[in-house]
């Protein structure tokens, strides 16, 4: 898979002299550069020109994050369970162009955007760590972008390491569908970084995750990092129901079992495709040939479209059985699932607080594999 190099970089005037912005410019020496006065105004005008929906831009926007860097994962409403994850806003938008990506309908900003005021981010993190010195926290950069798809431009993880080394309670989860791990291989991470891959059936990865690495490359990358002492995680999310899903997902679980020692896995999450209703049209305009939206979706208690519960139960039951066959010791959890699903497939239904505690327990104390 190709690494993302923008054709053009737009830099907000007030961010142009920041270290991270200069680094990106150096690494994209072929890209043209335009200095803009205000990122906010630039985004507004670009949306008006190209249309808010479906017109994701190929340019890269470098600007300051004027809001908070650290925020709780928006998760979803009750009764669906959420894990108490925290998001570290390193940027928004992603060059992988997955058909199902919620960002298509969620973001107002059509540009892949990196927040380059890392000094402010570190200050905010320090402040938070000072306020809650004993708190265990799982923070991640994979909510509004792919955690590693732009790492080759930013060295973002590297710039966070001094902070992470000082704060034992904080673990950074990098969620990715890439195999871009070269910047991580030589890092002295001290167990503070956990890398996780989104996994899917290989047919789905090929047809719906256009810019992502093939599944076997993701697993090979995981294997390489395990050899360097990293713990890893996997997210079978979104599970897609399609004719032949059993065979497809079974093969991926088999590939996982063949490549990764269970002891190196901090967790595996499961989640089926879910989306706010407007995503369907937005996605179909960009990807008219995708078939993922024509299965039996119904409106959930949180307003998101989900597969009929019977279908989800069928898929989860199969996945859990295959994963348990691979190893009984793997910690499996659901992302945004109902207590009914938890009980029927895993035999218990934790509250949000209990789930958070369970997952925190998987990373504390920090354990290198």
């Amino acid at each position: 898979m190709q690494r993302f190099i923008p054709e053009k970089i737009f830099i907000e005037e007030s961010a142009a002299d920041l270290v991270a912005a200069k680094r990106v410019r150096e690494r994209c020496s072929e890209s043209s550069v335009e200095i803009i006065t205000s990122a906010r105004e630039f985004i507004r005008l670009s949306r008006q020109k190209a249309g808010a929906e479906g017109a994701l831009q190929t340019g890269l926007l470098l600007c300051r994050n004027k809001g908070r860097f650290l925020e709780p994962c928006p998760g979803t409403k009750k009764p669906y369970r959420c894990c108490g994850y925290a998001i570290l806003n390193s940027g928004t938008g992603c060059p992988l162009h997955c058909t199902y990506c919620v960002l298509q309908a969620y973001l107002n900003n059509p540009f892949i955007t990196l927040y380059v005021n890392h000094e402010d981010m570190l200050e905010e993190l320090e402040h938070f760590a000072h306020l809650y010195p004993d708190r265990i926290m799982r923070i991640g950069t994979g909510e509004y972008t792919d955690s590693l798809a732009l790492e080759h431009l930013t060295d973002f993880t590297c710039s966070l390491l001094p902070f992470l080394r000082q704060h034992q309670g904080i673990v950074l989860e990098l969620k990715t569908k890439t195999a871009f791990i070269d910047t991580l291989l030589e890092l002295d991470h001290g167990g503070s970084v956990l890398v996780s891959w989104s996994l899917n059936a290989q047919e789905i990865a090929a047809s719906e995750e256009h810019g992502a690495a093939p599944v076997h490359e993701r697993l090979a990358a995981a294997r390489s990092l395990i050899n360097k002492g990293y713990r890893v995680g996997f997210h079978f999310d979104p599970l897609i129901y399609y004719p032949g899903w059993q065979e497809g997902y079974r093969q991926t679980v088999d590939l996982l079992a063949d490549s990764i020692p269970p002891a190196a896995i901090a967790w595996i999450s499961l989640g089926s495709l879910r989306f706010m209703p407007p995503l369907k049209n937005t996605s179909l305009q960009r990807f008219p040939h995708t078939k993922i939206y024509c299965q039996e979706f119904v409106s959930g208690h949180d307003g998101k479209m989900r597969y009929l519960q019977d279908i989800r139960l069928e898929m989860y039951t199969a996945l859990v059985a295959w994963l348990r066959h691979y190893s009984n010791d793997i910690f499996i959890y659901y992302c945004m699932e109902s207590p009914t699903v938890w009980k029927k497939t895993l035999g218990f239904a934790p509250s949000n607080a209990e789930l958070q505690k369970l997952l925190d327990g998987r990373v504390s104390p920090r354990i290198a594999a």
Binding site: Q48, G51, C294, R306
Partner: protein, 320 residues
């Protein structure tokens, strides 16, 4: 722009030239009556054609049409003196129309389609969509243009309200053959706008899932059986077709609903006890509603509920 009032033979006016015409689907009866009563009050605007011996209509196509139908041989019209640019003439027609009436969706689409000859998309979004009462977004522009490309019968249905604009936009994304298949169905049954939209959505999803054409879906025996019912009204047919398509679109959900219905029927609940499943069978929380007027009603309902708790069908129902 200078104009001169000149008497022009009607046969010298190119009625098929619609370069500046915005009007679509308007009823001419009022105008005909007016011309019959008081003659032509407002003169049409024409511009000399390239050859010089015929004229193109800038404003007043309906007036020209009515006069022709009424058998007039000539009309006094205002002729632009120095041939202005097409863009100027179109804007003249556009603002003239805009000043005295609300455009219907097809007229808006025709206007935007024509404006694209003269302005950038950005300019149209910013300056012209708001004038037409439309949201200034690229999506609205694309939707509006898509209406202009539809067949005349579909456009007419949009103007009369027989077809919802949103549904028409959706149909515009289909091939002409697929579009006509769905549109023909809508002509045979009576459906509200939201149900038209629902049926279109179901057809598209089924077509995508099962790799079928829309015609194949609608030619299905179950749909055709409904359409051929002589004793049903258009609304009844519409509702039945909707149910048939819903069942095809959501086979597992409808099976679940049917199974719930069967078990509930077997429980023989009294009319004052209403048992409802979770919405879309999401989660496991069933609801029971008791209606009562007296304490005795409550006692009787409680006895029924007790009995129901021992009914094996309830257990079966809750186990899914």
């Amino acid at each position: 722009m200078e104009t001169e009032a000149v008497s022009i033979p009607l046969h010298k006016i190119e009625k098929s030239d619609r370069s500046f015409i915005i009007t679509a689907g308007r009823d001419n009866r009022e105008l005909t009556r007016s011309i019959q009563q008081v003659g032509l009050v407002n003169l049409p605007y024409l511009v000399a054609g390239p050859s010089g011996d015929c004229y193109r209509i800038v404003c007043g196509c309906r007036r020209i049409q009515v006069l022709t139908e009424l058998g007039w041989k000539e009309v006094t019209a205002k002729i632009f003196s120095n041939a202005p640019e097409e863009k100027t003439l179109f804007l003249f027609a556009f603002f003239d129309n805009l000043a005295h009436r609300q455009f219907n969706p097809v007229e808006k689409a025709h206007s935007v389609e024509r404006l694209l000859h003269y302005f950038s998309q950005e300019e149209i979004i910013r300056s012209y969509l708001p004038l037409l009462g439309l949201h200034p977004t690229a999506r609205t522009l694309a939707d509006t243009i898509s209406l202009a490309g539809l067949e005349d019968d579909i456009k007419y249905a949009v103007i009369t309200g027989a077809l919802q604009e949103k549904t028409a936009v959706r149909l515009a994304g289909l091939s002409a053959e697929e579009r006509q298949s769905i549109f023909s169905l809508f002509c045979m049954v009576n459906l509200s706008a939201s149900k038209q939209s629902e049926i279109s959505e179901h057809c598209l999803d089924i077509a995508c899932r099962d790799s079928l054409s829309i015609s194949e879906i609608l030619d299905d025996r179950a749909v055709q059986d409904v359409l051929q019912q002589d004793r049903m009204t258009g609304s009844q047919k519409g509702e039945q077709v909707r149910q048939v398509l819903r069942k095809k679109r959501f086979p597992r959900l409808t099976r679940r609903e049917e199974s719930f219905g069967t078990l509930k029927k077997r429980m023989h609940l009294p009319p004052n006890l209403v048992l409802s499943p979770p919405a879309f069978f999401e989660g496991a929380m069933y609801r029971m509603q008791i209606s009562f007027e007296t304490v005795e009603d409550v006692q009787a309902a409680a006895d029924q509920v007790k009995k129901l708790a021992e009914n094996p069908d309830l257990k079966k129902l809750l186990e899914g």
